[in-house]
């Protein structure tokens, strides 16, 4: 692997390797000394054209625990907001010697564009591109599910996972669908028809408009953030109606299996897609997702950056 652009690029073996490596990183992170010398001398740029403090600091923590030098480049207040193009910014960073660029961008495909261009020679890690993908979020989701519902190893065969809400605009959902199904889980997309992409029925998922009928079946439910502005584009009539049909609340919690877990990629709209009661319940693993995010991102940085470039990019023992 040279880049991480999309979970749909991953093979089963690669996905398992990332999760296994993340498990080792998690173990080290629990010890008294959290810092490893592994990426000493490597320069990693957090190139964020879109605000996302949580993703940025998660990558930053991961890179620093591996002793990489981290440069944060935020488009806010930078030349990018003055019209400097992705190309110019990338070339500038290249001239500064970046070994990897972690890119967050509002345009779908920006990471792939950067990876396929000659604007930078470093690895490109997609930290969320428009409404396309957010692969490290999906990896941390899979990791969290595996920790809770499988003994922290292997894949997700036999598990049923519902992804609920604004699938249409969600880069997390797209990445999750590819990865969770690759790992053998059954994914159910739950949303009003307006918030499902055209052709979602051809994806490796089941689709339901009825959250209540799905609840008893699932081992994990992933609640997606609903942007308030979707209402003005007629995706649903009112926030109240949305919550009524698709929000996770105490009543719905009771319909779930006692072992089922609640997930959310954050930031949450408490009261809209999830009530505080559910978000803070013992079943919620939302904060663990944040912790696991650092381990998964350490694993990705290690796998992309630690070795010498090899012919086939594959790993040796």
């Amino acid at each position: 692997m040279r880049h991480l652009l999309s979970t749909s690029d991953l093979t089963y073996t690669q996905a398992i390797r990332i999760l296994d490596t993340a498990a080792e990183m998690a173990r080290i992170s629990e010890g008294p000394v959290k810092k490893l010398p592994t990426l000493r001398g490597r320069t990693i740029v957090n190139l964020f054209f879109e605000d996302s403090t949580r993703t940025r600091i998660s990558f930053e923590a991961a890179a620093k625990r591996l002793s990489a030098d981290v440069i944060n480049f935020s488009a806010k207040g930078s030349s990018a907001s003055k019209g400097e193009s992705l190309k110019d910014t990338a070339q500038t960073l290249q001239a500064m010697g970046a070994d990897a660029v972690i890119l967050r961008h509002s345009a779908s495909g920006a990471a792939q564009r950067l990876a396929n261009s000659h604007w930078t020679s470093g690895s490109v890690i997609n930290a969320g591109d428009g409404t396309h993908e957010h692969p490290t979020q999906a990896l941390l989701d899979a990791f969290t599910i595996r920790q809770h519902l499988r003994v922290g190893t292997g894949d997700l065969r036999g598990l049923t996972i519902a992804i609920v809400g604004d699938i249409l605009h969600s880069r997390v959902a797209r990445s999750d669908v590819h990865l969770l199904s690759l790992l053998g889980a059954q994914v159910i997309l739950v949303a009003p028809p307006t918030l499902l992409p055209i052709g979602a029925s051809t994806w490796p998922v089941q689709i339901s408009y009825d959250f209540d009928s799905v609840l008893p079946l699932v081992d994990a439910v992933m609640m997606l953030r609903v942007q308030q502005e979707r209402m003005s584009d007629f995706f649903f009539p009112t926030a109240r109606e949305y919550s009524h049909y698709y929000g996770l609340n105490a009543d719905r919690l009771k319909k779930m299996k006692p072992t089922a877990i609640i997930m959310h990629p954050g930031p949450m709209n408490r009261g809209l897609e999830i009530t505080a009661e559910c978000a803070d319940s013992a079943r919620s693993v939302i904060l663990e997702q944040v912790t696991n995010g650092v381990s998964v991102r350490m694993a990705v940085l290690y796998l992309l950056l630690a070795g010498a470039p090899s012919e086939d990019g594959e790993i040796t023992q």
């Binding site: 749909s8 193009s85 992705l86 190309k87 961008h105 509002s106 345009a107 779908s108 495909g109 920006a110 792939q112 564009r113 396929n116 261009s117 591109d129 428009g130 409404t131 396309h132 993908e133 880069r171 797209r174 992409p197 055209i198 052709g199 979602a200 051809t202």
Partner: protein
């Protein structure tokens, strides 16, 4: 003036002929012509090449005035000549917009001064392409540019009342409204064809229904006011069906398809390379096949390039930030041959109809599209159907390089173009001697 003897060529029907061009006119077409009385005669061997009437493109963006960094009338004319065109219609979305007699006369005059092909300006339907107030259509029609085609291309004339009035008003001078059919509400921020690929890529969809619903409305309006409608760049199977239905009802509608919609499909967007970003967008293989059938059976009257040059910085960026559009003039013939002739869906005679006769008729360009008629102006395009070539974006005549065909190989090429009896292209190269005036 030099006279020319074209030797060794064939007509669209395969008949071997010699053609004598004398005083800028087609003088004789015979198996052996008499060169008696020809002055300064130059014989040009075109062994086995097909002699076609000069191509007419009803849809080009020459960008002048305003965006001379991407194309000029001069550079666009060179690209046109290289592609076998002897007349092109220049779209109105320039800066300033071609919505007054002054601007259209300027563009027309630039074309005449360049002298590589006729450049017929298209007038804007509404002032500033704003979609609300009609531009001075009569003044443009009566200007030296004699505008007959009006279009807000780039924008749709969306207000049905504005569209109705425009259709009615141009009847006075037998004008035609060329509609860019796109419902703006259904395509807000749209990036590519809405379908499986857009869903996967997370790019905002441009559904075919946004085009089809406007086509349906407009053919009904044209029927109601008994006027002429031209549908720009049809892209979808549904659009072809509606036009077929309208023609069967006797509605005066004509339609065009671009070479890129005959060849390319939306899965190219998977690269996120905005070289494939175009409006209306590339659609599916099913649509491509329907367009080819529509062009073959005459539902779609003509091929038009929608040649849309853009400077490098407008394409070397993220897909969302990139401009819509691709080059078309220099590759049009090769693509139509590959998709329509070599697939046995059309004959060379059909191609002449779709690329010369019909577009000239729709635009009212009397000097063009006369076929190979004795005594008509010698606008000729000579095609070698077996001279394969590979597209190289660094070798285009256009000032921009945004061709999606870079590196692709095509089976045949334009080897010579005659405009008013003078070669603008010979041996597939621009004739430098003739465009220096």
């Amino acid at each position: 003036m030099t006279d020319y003897l074209l030797d060794g060529g064939v007509l669209a029907d395969g008949k071997a002929v010699q053609v004598l061009i004398k005083d800028g006119l087609i003088n004789q077409i015979e198996s052996v012509v008499s060169t008696l009385g020809a002055t300064n005669l130059q014989k040009i061997s075109i062994n086995g090449c097909i002699i076609l009437p000069g191509f007419v493109d009803l849809h080009t963006h020459l960008r002048e005035p305003g965006r001379e960094d991407s194309e000029t009338v001069e550079s666009g004319s060179r690209a046109a000549a290289k592609g076998g065109f002897t007349a092109v219609s220049a779209m109105a979305n320039t800066f300033p917009v071609a919505d007054t007699a002054g601007v259209v006369e300027q563009v027309y005059a630039l074309g005449q001064a360049t002298g590589l092909c006729d450049v017929f300006p298209i007038g804007a339907v509404t002032q500033g392409l704003g979609g609300t107030a009609l531009a001075e259509l009569g003044a443009m029609a009566d200007s030296k540019a004699r505008v007959r085609i009006f279009s807000d291309d780039g924008n749709c004339v969306f207000d049905p009342m504005v569209m109705r009035r425009a259709l009615e008003y141009v009847k006075k001078f037998d004008g035609v409204i060329a509609q860019h059919a796109q419902d703006p509400h259904l395509t807000k921020d749209a990036q590519m064809n809405e379908g499986l690929i857009s869903s996967k890529l997370g790019l905002k969809g441009w559904p075919a229904v946004a085009e089809e619903s406007i086509i349906a409305r407009d053919v009904l309006l044209a029927d109601h006011v008994q006027s002429r409608l031209h549908v720009c760049h049809v892209t979808s199977a549904g659009g072809v069906d509606i036009i077929r239905w309208a023609k069967a009802r006797g509605i005066q509608v004509s339609a065009e398809v671009t070479p890129h919609h005959l060849l390319l499909t939306d899965d190219l967007a998977e690269s996120y390379d905005p070289i494939y970003k175009v409006n209306p967008p590339l659609r599916t293989q099913r649509d491509v096949m329907a367009l080819r059938e529509g062009l073959a059976d005459g539902t779609i009257d003509i091929v038009a390039t929608d040649h849309a040059p853009h400077p490098a910085e407008n394409k070397e960026c993220e897909w969302q930030a990139a401009s819509f559009g691709m080059l078309g003039l220099e590759t049009a013939l090769s693509i139509v041959q590959a998709t329509m002739i070599d697939t046995a869906m059309m004959s060379w005679g059909d191609l002449a109809m779709r690329m010369s006769t019909s577009p000239a008729r729709i635009g009212g360009y009397a000097d063009h599209g006369q076929g190979l008629k004795i005594g008509s102006t010698a606008h000729l395009t000579i095609v070698n159907p077996t001279r394969a070539w590979k597209v190289d974006r660094d070798l285009v005549a256009s000032r921009s390089r945004n061709t999606p065909y870079h590196g692709m190989e095509f089976p045949g090429s334009v080897v010579a173009t005659f405009y008013r009896g003078i070669p603008t292209v010979l041996d597939a190269k621009l004739e430098s001697a003739t465009h220096g005036n």
